[in-house]
């Protein structure tokens, strides 16, 4: 009995000590950067909240996703962004088949984690292990890195070696003590690193204008606090009046509140500083569909806050509000009909299971 107790104590102690030896790895910037080729009107397809579960009729859903991906003028997009909550209560089989399906479309795709993606019958590393081996997955293979979160990746869109645009996926993480977690400071520092690296800078230049850095988009699953602020401003603006869905270049179809993290981050400070990011794309609140034009206090930088369309029937949804969001990227701004500088065209597609897809709304050029 004594011997057993002694040996088991040693074993437990060793296990505990081993756990203390885990450390994070600092990767080179290049490890996070994936490259795509630019073309005129580069098309980004934004899908979110797929919520594939073990009960999902995969064949039916895959047909739907393919329809959604090609819903804008039957045009093949240049990249697909799966912006979180792609899986929930799923299993290995469903996860594998879904990722292989997207790979089979032969379109580069980036996988962003949401708060539910790890809530499935597989190890936390399973999705990463699959993405690592898929030809079209834009996956940053940086295990045990010093940046929090799993889906932090920078996509640099280049034309003959010249950066035209970037897309950043930043893991919005999941929960912290019964609240939604937020983007961590090390992720924001990572974002800064990537903005500098993709634009060829070692450190921030002294005089930054709106033309210093190429334009970029951030995709993160859980909306940031700025979404809530923008919505509050919108409500205040139209208090006591009928709230329009379309107002100039702004589109606001909010059918539920903003479920963001209560924790503060200074991501907006960095966005305002570098004037690279023109849009944050979020999902998470399934029935919201927006294109807010947002300016933080004291800043002259316009940031568009976009809730992407929920893709498909799963979890909760509104039947008339499912589909995909598309963005046509411009390497130099175009004037909208309402006089704003558009760095991309936001196209919201309604994609039903049966029947034709149609454009709900898009920006109007001058």
């Amino acid at each position: 009995m004594k011997k057993l107790f002694r040996y088991s104590s040693i074993a437990l102690l060793s296990a505990l000590l081993c756990s203390c030896s885990q450390g994070a790895i600092k990767y080179e910037d290049e490890a996070y950067i994936k490259e795509l080729n630019w073309r005129e009107n580069f098309l980004v397809c934004h899908l979110g909240d797929l919520h594939v579960s073990s009960s999902t009729n995969l064949e039916k859903q895959f047909n739907y996703y393919k329809k959604a991906v090609y819903s804008f003028n039957n045009e093949k997009p240049d990249v697909i962004i799966l912006n979180g909550d792609n899986f929930m209560n799923s299993n290995k089989e469903c996860v594998r088949k879904t990722l292989e399906f997207f790979n089979s479309l032969e379109i580069p795709f980036a996988f962003g984690y949401g708060n539910h993606d790890l809530q499935s019958m597989h190890s936390p590393d399973y999705i990463d292990n699959l993405l690592r081996n898929l030809q079209y997955a834009l996956y940053a293979d940086t295990p045990n890195d010093d940046v929090y979160g799993r889906s932090n990746v920078a996509i640099n869109i280049k034309d003959n070696g010249v950066s035209k645009y970037q897309i950043y996926l930043i893991d919005s993480n999941s929960y912290l003590r019964s609240e939604y977690d937020c983007i961590h400071q090390d992720q924001i520092d990572w974002y800064e690193r990537m903005v500098l690296a993709t634009n060829g800078y070692d450190e921030a230049p002294s005089n930054i204008t709106k033309d210093t850095f190429t334009k970029s988009m951030i995709f993160t699953h859980i909306p940031t606090k700025e979404f809530k602020e923008a919505y509050d401003n919108y409500l205040a603006r139209y208090e006591g009046k009928e709230k329009p869905i379309i107002n100039g270049d702004e589109y606001v179809d909010m059918r539920e509140g903003v479920s963001c993290s209560p924790y503060d981050t200074n991501l907006m400070d960095y966005i305002n500083k570098y004037k690279s990011t023109v849009m944050i794309g979020a999902n998470h609140d399934h029935v919201n569909n927006t294109d807010f034009w947002y300016k933080s206090e004291g800043s002259d930088w316009d940031l568009r806050l976009i809730y992407g369309q929920k893709a498909g029937f799963s979890c909760y949804f509104d039947e008339d509000n499912i589909g995909a969001s598309f963005y046509q990227l411009y390497d130099s701004p175009k004037k909208s009909k309402h006089g704003n500088d558009l760095y991309f065209n936001d196209i919201k597609m309604y994609v039903p299971y049966e029947g034709e897809a149609k454009i709900i709304w898009q920006n109007e050029l001058a």
Binding site: L12, S19, S53, N115, L118, S123, Y175
Partner: protein, 314 residues
Amino acid sequence: MAKRISLNIKDNKILRILLISVIYVVVSLSTFIAVKIFFPIISNFGLNSISIIPGFLTYIMPLFIFFMVILYIHTSTINNKRMILLILGLVITLFGVFGIIMAAILMGVVYEGNTIVGNTTPIFPLDVLLINILYLLLGISLLVFKHIDKKNDIISPIMTKKISNKKFVLLGFYLPFSMYFFGQCLWGFMYIFEGYWSPNWYGVMPAYFLFALMTVGLIFFVNYVHDDKHNKNRLALISLLSTFLYLVIFGIWFLIAIFVNPYLVPESMQWEFEILYSISYPYGLLVIVLWVLIPLIYYFAKTIRNIRKEKTNR
């Protein structure tokens, strides 16, 4: 002359324990799979229920059968045993028929002719069909062979001690939860080398040992149900104290892990604590600890009382 080891389950206690252990493992895994299959009904607000319910019912059925077997074991009269076999046979037969019909609908209508879609389980819905055929055969066998007598009753009066309704209801409540978490524990250990516990394995490991301890709690609960006055009190005391020690060690270990990394549950244990994962405070741990502790404390008190009675009677 060496003692002959009987392979008759009536006479060989070790064989009985082995058999019950194997059955417990199988039923635990089955219960665990059933609950995991069921969860998308909740998360999808009832959507696609038709593809979930047949699988869920198929895999939860062993738990019902197990429970009925326990009832059978604790029934002393042959007539009552026959009644149980009749009910069990009828239920399983009807269930089997229903399951086969559901499987046919799934294959023919929902999945448009596909026998294996593989979303719920790797061979779904073919597994629903095959398992329900087994249920049908089992049910029919029970109906045919329900006319047992003392000679044919294979489990006979090993544990024919009658238990009160209250205890039986409590067992019915305690059993599924213990089995579910034991199934969870087995599942995690089966895939341990696939990195199942990464990256927070140092925190996940104690949780899995706690899941296993919930079955130990059940063992003590079963002893409580049996209220065996002839147990070896000192041995019982040692096993109680050892269990309590393990509970404390793994509980504190898990608690420390959560406080060292408040993201541990959201990062690595979202599907282990389905309902509680978004709450980083260790409510899940508390539930497990209480689940093990309550029968432990009760049985500890009874054992102490028995020891004192023993001393008084000497």
